[in-house]
């Protein structure tokens, strides 16, 4: 058996184990399965999506200056590259790091923020789209509310990376449907990947948050 062959096998095995398809822990409908975002995978996926590098346009990076409100506070950010993501501007230019940088390609939901109240993926929304809009990041709930309380109680055993995004989705869900069915909870959380915990914890947390919000009235 040649070395090359060994390498191929190793490569195949490692790719295969990280490639293992798993049912999205939070996707109830089972419409499709998602791949866990291990680094090798991300690169693999990026290649599959993007193909060979596209030669950059000549000349300087096109930049703009952006004004918007973040959690109610007006901000102005100069020299934003037109293709900078909202997530990058929030985290690296404005220091609002509660929204997390997970996969950078729309799969994991860790970067979720609200743009004029609508949930969007921070990593796939160009920052310049926020011009004149209001952005809500998980920091808006920094003091804790029913949702953060319930997530801490039920999902505290995990690393917490997915929780800020899940928190915002849960708040958006409860604003729409104060008493969501389990199917509705699964459906709305299906855009979030969690590597630490099984889905049951999140469903319990959302149910508890819903009850707590109801009690508060």
């Amino acid at each position: 058996m040649s070395e090359a062959h060994d390498f191929d096998q190793y490569d195949f095995l490692s790719a295969d184990s990280s490639n293992e398809l798993e049912i999205d822990p939070l996707a109830g409908s089972g419409t499709y399965t998602v791949v866990s975002s291990l680094p090798s995978q991300v690169q693999h996926a990026a290649e599959a999506v993007a193909g060979p590098p596209i030669p950059p346009a000549s000349g300087p990076f096109a930049t703009v200056s952006i004004r918007c409100t973040v959690n109610g506070e007006p901000v102005e950010v100069p020299e934003v590259w037109v293709a900078d993501s909202l997530l990058f501007v929030l985290r690296d230019r404005l220091g609002r790091t509660a929204a997390k940088d997970g996969c950078g390609e729309g799969e994991c939901g860790a970067c979720l923020v609200l743009l004029d109240g609508e949930p969007v993926l921070g990593c796939l929304t160009p920052a310049l789209v926020a011009e004149g809009s209001s952005v809500t990041t998980p920091e808006a709930y920094g003091d804790g509310d029913e949702v953060s309380g319930a997530l801490a109680a039920h999902c505290g055993a995990g690393c917490g990376y997915c929780l800020p995004g899940i928190g915002l989705t849960t708040r958006a869900l409860l604003a729409r449907q104060p008493e969501p069915s389990e199917a509705a909870i699964r459906e709305s959380l299906s855009g979030h990947l969690c590597r630490c915990l099984p889905p049951g914890h999140f469903i319990d947390a959302v149910n508890e948050a819903a009850q707590a919000v109801k009690r508060r009235g």
Partner: protein, 374 residues
């Protein structure tokens, strides 16, 4: 309003300035939702000269119901398409939109962006994207409406692509809308994929029943560069349905139909390079998948009996949407005129046209505001 100095980003609120800017600055990159472009940008594979944002142009977003057709603006988001009102009239479109990414992705991902995805930004070959919405639009017999500064162009959606699946838009051309015949019957969309992401699905299938013309259109995608209509299956089925009673008398009909659809995968029409992430899918698996999906879609759309009532419901809902459309648009201050040059009079009728069939473009000169009432 000609644009003289290059701009880094432009976000017009009307169609005219958008096409003028594109004509003046050809290196502007059209950005609708950005869900494809930002993946490229984040990976360091895209460095645009500037962006033309088309997400704030009311003419490009929304749905118009007219006497003859449904017109959907190109920048309508996948989330918009899953709205219950639309789901009631165009269920296959709503189901296809619902199967794209996650809810937060669908708030921004658009129909036009889905069909125009996979543009070769720097030239050269690139893996084909999913373009899941295309399968449904092909089954529906949709026509794409494109606009440059001076011209309108209308082409059956399959005609937007080259033989290898590359997008064929002219320089400075925007897709403004898709025109569909008014749907008044049962529809379904199915998808089999290894992941929810932007990679190519193994199979997509859309089934569209039109009880008024007694036609069943079916399109399958995922196997080749562009989804294909399998008209022979629909034609065969036509004679095996009791349209008067709303029934399919012979239970064997479903299986035969499914087999005919799966045979469509083998038609020479579909030859071509398979997409990146499904190239490892064995043909036999895909054939079986097509058969199972086609059978299920048909059973759901036309069960053995008792669907006449359902057909009436669809007709009532379509009638209702038509009646509401203009009034609600006026009430909410939305544009009354859809972004199209006028009723289609030319020979653009799509049924029977295969995915890679002859192109029947019509070019109509744009006069000022595109010939529409202000």
């Amino acid at each position: 309003m000609p644009v003289s100095t290059p701009v880094a980003a432009l976000r017009p609120t009307e169609l005219e300035p958008a096409v003028e800017a594109l004509a003046a600055q050809p290196d502007l990159c059209v950005l609708a939702g950005g869900t494809e472009l930002m993946v490229l940008a984040n990976a360091g594979r895209l460095r645009p000269g500037g962006f033309l944002l088309i997400d704030r142009i009311p003419e490009l977003r929304g749905v118009w119901f007219t006497e003859q057709e449904v017109i959907i603006g190109a920048a309508t988001t996948c989330a918009d398409l899953t709205h219950p009102d639309l789901r009631a009239v165009l269920p296959a479109l709503a189901q296809a939109a619902r199967a794209i990414g996650s809810a937060a992705l669908r708030t921004r991902a658009t129909l036009g962006g889905n069909l125009a995805s996979g543009k070769r930004l720097g030239g050269g070959p690139a893996p084909l994207p999913g373009r899941d919405m295309l399968t449904t639009l092909i089954a529906l017999g949709a026509v794409a409406v494109c606009r440059t500064r001076h011209d309108w162009r209308q082409v059956p959606v399959a005609g937007l692509y080259a033989r290898d699946g590359g997008v064929q838009l002219q320089p400075g051309e925007l897709i403004t809308a898709f025109r569909l015949p008014l749907g008044t019957g049962q529809q379904g969309f199915m998808k089999i994929g290894t992941r929810g992401g932007p990679g190519r699905p193994v199979l997509t299938l859309a089934l569209v029943v039109d009880p008024s013309t007694r036609q069943v259109a079916c399109a399958i995608g995922g196997h080749g560069p562009v989804p294909a209509r399998v008209d022979h299956a629909g034609q065969w089925l036509q004679a095996h349905v009791d349209w008067e009673a709303g029934a399919i008398p012979d239970p064997g009909t479903y299986q035969t139909f499914a087999r005919l659809v799966a045979e469509g995968l083998l038609a020479p029409l579909t030859a071509g390079p398979a997409g990146a992430s499904t190239s490892r899918i064995p043909d036999e698996y895909r054939r079986q998948a097509a058969e199972v999906c086609a059978r299920r879609a048909l059973v759901r759309a036309l069960p053995p009996s008792g669907w006449l009532e359902q057909v009436k419901q669809y007709q009532i809902k379509a009638e209702l949407m038509r009646a509401r459309s203009a009034v609600e648009r006026a009430e909410r201050g939305l544009p009354q005129a859809p972004p199209v040059p006028g009723p289609i009079t030319g020979p653009i009728n799509v049924p029977g046209l295969g995915a890679l069939g002859a192109r029947t473009d019509i070019t109509i000169p744009a006069q000022g505001n595109g010939g529409r009432a202000q």
